[in-house]
């Protein structure tokens, strides 16, 4: 299993053609206390960069973009009642959705963990 990051601070953990998407701990920290998460419908087809979810904190409302194209297969319903999970465990229990990746070559444009860390340090 490998993990990739976008410049907009989403991560995707990839296992074959299955992906799990969330926002990075850096993003969760920048947002502050998350108070609301809006998740997509299961079965929705998304292109890379489409708005996949909305995350609202005490500071701001932000879109979460799909790191790659594919179909939503599962959403983390727990976040609707417990949005604080995003702050507590952004890269674990605070995942947003699972998807079937349509074209795994789209992963090539994303950053790996080391590159992403470097990217965040430069911000």
């Amino acid at each position: 299993m490998s993990i990739y990051f976008t410049e907009d601070h989403e991560w995707i953990k990839v296992d074959g053609d299955k992906g799990t998407v969330g926002i990075s701990p850096y993003a969760a920290k920048q947002l502050g206390d998350v108070v609301y998460v809006e998740l997509p419908e299961i079965g929705r087809d998304m292109a890379k960069g489409d708005e996949a979810a909305v995350v609202e904190s005490v500071k701001a409302a932000s879109e979460v973009y799909s790191p790659v194209g594919g179909e939503v297969t599962e959403v983390n319903e727990k976040l609707e009642d417990a949005p604080e999970t995003v702050n507590a465990s952004a890269d674990g229990d605070g995942w947003f959705l699972k998807m079937t990746i349509a074209d795994s070559s789209e992963l090539e444009s994303l950053m790996d963990e080391a590159k992403y860390k470097e990217y965040c340090d430069g911000l």
């Binding site: 920048q30 502050g32 206390d33 108070v35 609301y36 904190s57 500071k59 701001a60």
Partner: protein, 520 residues
């Protein structure tokens, strides 16, 4: 519990420690909720019981139980609201530096005029022959607005800034549809835009394409060119605020307008910050096709809880035929209202004619200042913001170099490694007796603090404000974190739990008996 990000949980006692028996602190009276003060068994009005009248509602439609509203005597009611008002902050109390909001003084002359019976007591369905004075005022106001903006037409009716945006975008859509350009549905919006801009575009059936900012806080013109070039035939227009949300003048605005027009789109300018331009720049000269004015910001009508707002929207020659009804015309028989839509007008923004009380206040402000006075107000607003920026630039960190317009934007880099963040800083300002500046907005600047002093403040007031800000900045850097985390200490309520309020909002008061029932 998480400890990073913006700390919002209470770090100290929730309400201020009060040691008196009454709950009051000298002149500051202890106040409970109105539901806790009154009881349904008390009343301030003594109506005789209705006699000999049968209910026409029918037995099934009558209320069966008690409604549970609190009853209070007249003095109790007065005291309740006066006490609340004394816990509030107002422009009539002190500097109100809330950036992007233009909290300027509301001259009392405006209020006097707005209360004249010929303006205050008219009904929207009165025959027009009986409201000629009110219509003349609307006509005059339209004339002032058109001259100040250099635009040929104005729709007065929109009732707020975002409503004006909707009006402008509906006019653009009507024009595109009339020209057989209905495939144009892409609206370009800079990432620093007011949140209402993309919301308006989507509400109008457009899609939003975000333009990134350049390093100096303005629209990235190269990126704009690429966005247009990628599919020029889908461009409906651009929504741009000038001066923008960073308090900076978009110096490429004419080039931006030309690019959009060349692509076949229209230019919506958000006029929320027109306070920085009145008398100096006419949007009509910049290629603007539509722009709303916030009468409640730029032209000193009350807002921020005192509302209502008013957002007249100016339209260019390309759009003016699509203006909404009603509007005032001048005929040989006097002033008349055009109430019915012809085939090109896109329709109606609201049932009647807009906010009369705001029209009378705004026109009073314009006429009492005169063209030269309005220009000076603009210059003073920009001068004041620059005075604040320059006076704080050595202890705080301006987000962008150079001269700002009507508001000064700081980032939180001056607080780096102090343990104090923007929120703590704002809370400490409350103890100093100031309403905090706008914070964490615009989002393009980290830990943003946006200060708009407006032209209302004298140099003396500004110096006092600057003195407080300098003191706080120096205290933060001296390592005094604890006092910031405790702030506000002197406010009626201490640090409130905003996170919990957003996650689990309590939207309705419940009586102790209801709470007990719910618990059973």
């Amino acid at each position: 519990m998480k400890t990073e990000g913006r700390p919002t949980s209470p770090v100290a006692a929730n309400s201020n420690d009060v040691k008196t028996v009454s709950g009051s602190k000298a002149l500051e009276q202890g106040t409970k909720l109105i539901f806790e003060t009154g009881t349904p068994r008390r009343t301030g009005i003594d109506f005789p019981a209705a006699k000999g009248r049968a209910s026409r509602l029918g037995a099934n439609n009558e209320r069966q139980g008690e409604i549970g509203l609190p009853g209070l005597s007249e003095p109790e009611t007065m005291r309740h609201y006066v006490r609340l008002s004394q816990k509030n902050y107002a422009i009539d109390l002190g500097v109100y530096p809330l950036g992007s909001c233009t909290m300027k003084h509301n001259p009392r002359l405006n209020e006097k005029v707005a209360r004249m019976p010929g303006f205050a007591d008219v009904h929207p369905l009165q025959p027009v022959s009986t409201v000629q004075g009110a219509l003349e005022l609307m006509y005059e106001l339209s004339d002032w607005i058109c001259k100040l903006t250099g635009m040929p037409a104005v729709a007065l009716t929109p009732k707020a800034g975002a409503h004006g945006e909707l009006c402008g975008m509906m006019a653009i859509r009507a024009r595109l549809d009339a020209d057989g350009q209905s495939q144009r549905r892409r609206v370009l919006v800079p990432e620093s835009a007011h949140g209402t801009n993309p919301a308006t575009a989507v509400q109008c059936g457009f899609t939003v394409d975000e333009i990134p900012a350049s390093g100096d806080g303005r629209v990235n013109i190269e990126s704009l060119k690429e966005k247009i070039k990628s599919d020029p035939n889908s461009v409906a227009g651009i929504m741009l605020t000038n001066p923008n949300t960073c308090g900076l003048f978009e110096r490429d605005i004419i080039e931006i307008a030309d690019l959009i027009h060349a692509a076949g789109g229209y230019f919506y300018c958000d006029g929320a910050n027109f306070n920085a331009l009145v008398g100096r720049v006419r949007p009509g000269d910049l290629g603007v096709d539509a722009m709303h004015l916030n009468l409640h910001k730029t032209f000193s009508t009350p807002h921020g809880g005192g509302g209502p707002g008013s957002g007249p929207t100016v339209l260019s020659n390309a759009l003016k035929d699509h203006a909404p009804v009603p509007y005032v015309t001048k005929t040989e028989q006097g002033y008349a209202l055009v109430e019915h839509k012809d085939e090109v007008s896109f329709g109606r923004m609201c049932a009647f004619h807009g906010q009369m009380g705001m029209y009378s206040r705004a026109l009073t402000y314009m006429m009492s200042h005169g063209a030269d006075g309005l220009k000076q107000a603009t210059e003073d607003a920009v001068l004041n913001a620059n005075y604040v920026q320059a006076s704080l630039s050595d202890v705080m960190s301006p987000a962008f170099g150079g001269i700002c317009m009507h508001e000064a934007l700081f980032d939180d880099s001056f607080l780096k490694d102090t343990g104090v963040d923007t929120l703590d800083f704002a809370k400490a300002m409350i103890d100093e007796g100031y309403h905090p500046m706008t914070m964490y907005f615009p989002l393009v600047v980290h830990g943003a603090m946006l200060i708009e002093p407006t032209e209302s403040e004298s140099k003396g007031e500004l110096d006092r404000f600057i003195g407080s800000m300098r003191h706080l900045a120096e205290r933060a850097r001296s390592g005094d974190v604890e006092s910031f985390k405790q702030a506000p200490v002197y406010a009626p309520m201490r640090r409130l739990d905003e996170t919990q309020a957003a996650r689990k909002p309590v939207l309705r008061w419940t009586s102790p008996s209801e709470t007990a029932e719910a618990a059973e």
